[in-house]
Symmetry: C2
Subunit: 426 residues, 2 copies
């Protein structure tokens, strides 16, 4: 169960908050082999590695239009309705993120602005395995569509029958994503990076994955392909005081703990008696869970931290930089204003983290492992570039020209200066 830390000294915080070290597997040889083969042989190599790693050889790499269109027949109506509601909310939240271009006249006759343009080709990776993560299809596919990406390629590993789970296919079809590839792992990322007969090369690759996929995405990045963000195990930090409902807090901690034994959950509080109440609820709820072994594994290295006051709690939380941050305390405003490093923030007792995972509208692809210090979660801008534009009038160049001339001269760049001088003379 959670280990209790009462008023730990600030010197000990870095150690207390350290993420579990994941021994970085040396996959370089494998990455070079797979990327090299995919470059040389294309689809044939993707199929061969699928046979080798996934123990199946799909009849074709690309899922045909009929299979996509008919996936819905395997989805219960209640789930379809749930997906429709989630889709609507995710669309509303992400559609509101569009940048509206505003022309800034920085100086008389000097107009500058930004406009967003879609990344034309993007790849979306959806892991396979027992739990089909169809919600991630929505979280990545919806902003990609809203941004206007015109080539969206979805890769997901086939099961032993060579198929992708119908819930994943249903969501892809619902969003109008028709380029779906039954391939996963390093060979899928290699295909998206390099391109094959069936898989177009993309400019940016999104989506979660195991250590092989993560390493392959980093390798793709070295080849010049952009990626969404570095990946790591899921995390949740709950800040709660005496007003918090211990059962709710426990349920939120468990919902993150069930992701994997390497998930991190933390409870931070100013109330010394809260951890025991939460621990009691954890024990009750854990017993009921199908994935209780996984959740218990994560809880084994999780922590409850009691500190003297809100200021200390906020410092500790910002030092940790949680992926998910739940605030269940009376003075929630203090934490909302003060939080700097977090992926997504959930405020109040009626806002479970799982709302953001599925249906409130926010994105669930978020920075883990402390990357919230420098990275945002996925949003509409993740699928766009902002391009700057400028238009200077003859009066405008007269106004700022002398400054450009002086600076270019001082940097020893005479041709930069000449481009202005010529125009000033005219």
């Amino acid at each position: 169960m959670m280990k209790l830390h009462i008023r730990p000294d600030r010197d000990t915080w870095p150690q207390l908050l350290a993420r579990p070290e994941r021994p970085a597997a040396d996959l370089d040889a494998l990455l070079h082999e797979v990327f090299g083969a995919v470059k040389a042989e294309g689809d044939a190599a993707v199929l061969r590695f699928t046979e080798q790693f996934d123990k199946v050889r799909p009849a074709q790499l690309r899922v045909d239009a009929d299979t996509l269109a008919q996936a819905g027949a395997h989805i219960p109506d209640a789930l379809k309705a749930a997906i429709a509601l989630a889709k609507q909310n995710i669309e509303r939240f992400h559609a509101a993120q569009r940048l509206v271009p505003t022309i800034i006249e920085t100086a008389p006759g000097v107009e500058c602005w930004r406009e967003e343009r879609p990344i034309e080709r993007v790849g979306i990776y959806i892991p396979g395995g027992t739990a089909p993560l169809f919600s991630t299809v929505l979280m990545l596919g919806i902003p990609a569509k809203l941004a206007g990406c015109n080539e969206i390629v979805l890769c997901s590993p086939p099961d032993r029958q060579g198929r992708i789970h119908p819930a994943i296919l249903y969501c892809a079809h619902l969003l109008g994503i028709d380029h779906v590839i039954a391939a996963g792992g390093v060979q899928a990322i290699a295909a998206l990076s390099i391109g094959t007969e069936t898989v177009p090369a993309v400019y940016k690759i999104f989506g979660p994955g195991n250590q092989f996929v993560t390493a392959a995405k980093q390798h793709a990045q070295r080849l010049g392909v952009a990626i969404d963000m570095p990946a790591g195990p899921s995390e949740l930090l709950v800040m709660a005081d005496g007003t918090a409902n211990a059962a709710f807090v426990a349920s939120d901690l468990l919902s993150q703990a069930e992701h994997g034994t390497d998930s991190q959950v933390l409870l931070v509080t100013t109330h010394a008696d809260l951890p025991a109440r939460v621990a009691h609820e954890l024990a009750l709820q854990l017993a009921q869970l199908p994935r209780k072994d996984i959740a218990a594994g994560a809880l084994a290295h999780s922590k409850a931290i009691v500190l003297d006051d809100d200021a200390a709690c906020l410092d500790l939380i910002n030092q940790y930089g949680p992926e998910h941050f739940i605030i269940c305390c009376a003075n929630e405003e203090f934490y909302c204003r003060g939080i700097v490093n977090a992926g997504s923030v959930f405020i109040g007792s009626w806002t479970p983290e799982s709302a953001g995972d599925y249906a409130s509208g926010t994105n669930h692809t978020l920075p883990t492992n402390g990357h919230a210090r420098a990275y945002s979660g996925v949003n509409l801008q993740s699928f766009c570039k902002s391009v700057t534009f400028q238009r200077i009038s003859q009066a405008g160049i007269r106004h700022i020209g002398p400054a450009i001339e002086a600076m270019a001269e001082a940097e020893g760049l005479q041709a930069h200066r000449n481009a202005v001088t010529l125009r000033m003379r005219d």
Copy 2:
């Protein structure tokens, strides 16, 4: 001089537009040595490598407050005035980029929004060498300050006397950046990534550099430190028609060509007689340039491409994805609307690229090497994360709860479901 390509077949475009291959130097051994030594020995290692690579051992790594404050004494008043004007315009343009939080009620009782938070610690790298790139101090320091980054560390290599150019120090001091380190190259990036006694570890590193700095930034990225973008040689593409002023076009091409022999400049036109007129102007202007050997080197592998119509030109330009894109033609609107892949766009005859390099207000740190397909140039958001917030009411969770339950169940994540079910029961 520029090589002329008249109506090249579309099949030949990829080859025509290919960036010069830069043989990737294998710097892995060096990177591991320097990063390892900086981790083990801190400042001592930074100083030792500075002595080894830069042939100087500064008395101290950190520039003292007096030296910073007095740097202005070495700057002519005219240059100070130019810097002041540039600073004002850059501030105006970047300050207007702030995200204004808007609460989106995605469903009744479900409020979601984004807020920006500064990246607390950032590193800015300014190359040394003959030309002091003080303008880059403004381009990176101003948005960092506006974003509210509270630790800004500037590294720049010392000259043979152990000093940083006063123009760089003056700009740093003007912006209130007081943490300036006289170190460059791999050892500076290692220090920013890992931290030493004098150099705080940062979360994101910005700035241009040679192949050593670029490789070190990529290495830092593998260690979990974010970077601004992948680097490459500077580029400019001019789209011009018969209305363009050939002398202006030539001056813009030269202003990019003088950066380095590996710079890329392209002229695209529908007017078959324009390339010869521009070539004539290039020859006249080139002869006058102090850096004419460098510019001539870049022009030697540059291209003038004549195509039949605007649609073909736009396709080719988007396929190339230039860092800088100048539009000098009558139907400029067609190109403004249609451009998808570019870093920064300059419209009309009175808008030289050097305006954006120094003083119009837009940023000059832009994606090169085709990275404009997936990356934006540096902007205010480069120094921020956007954090999502959500607050759900009891009515709100009743509204979206059933959808969350259905989706969590279908993904096999029972604890995610429970977090909602518990609350729905309440």
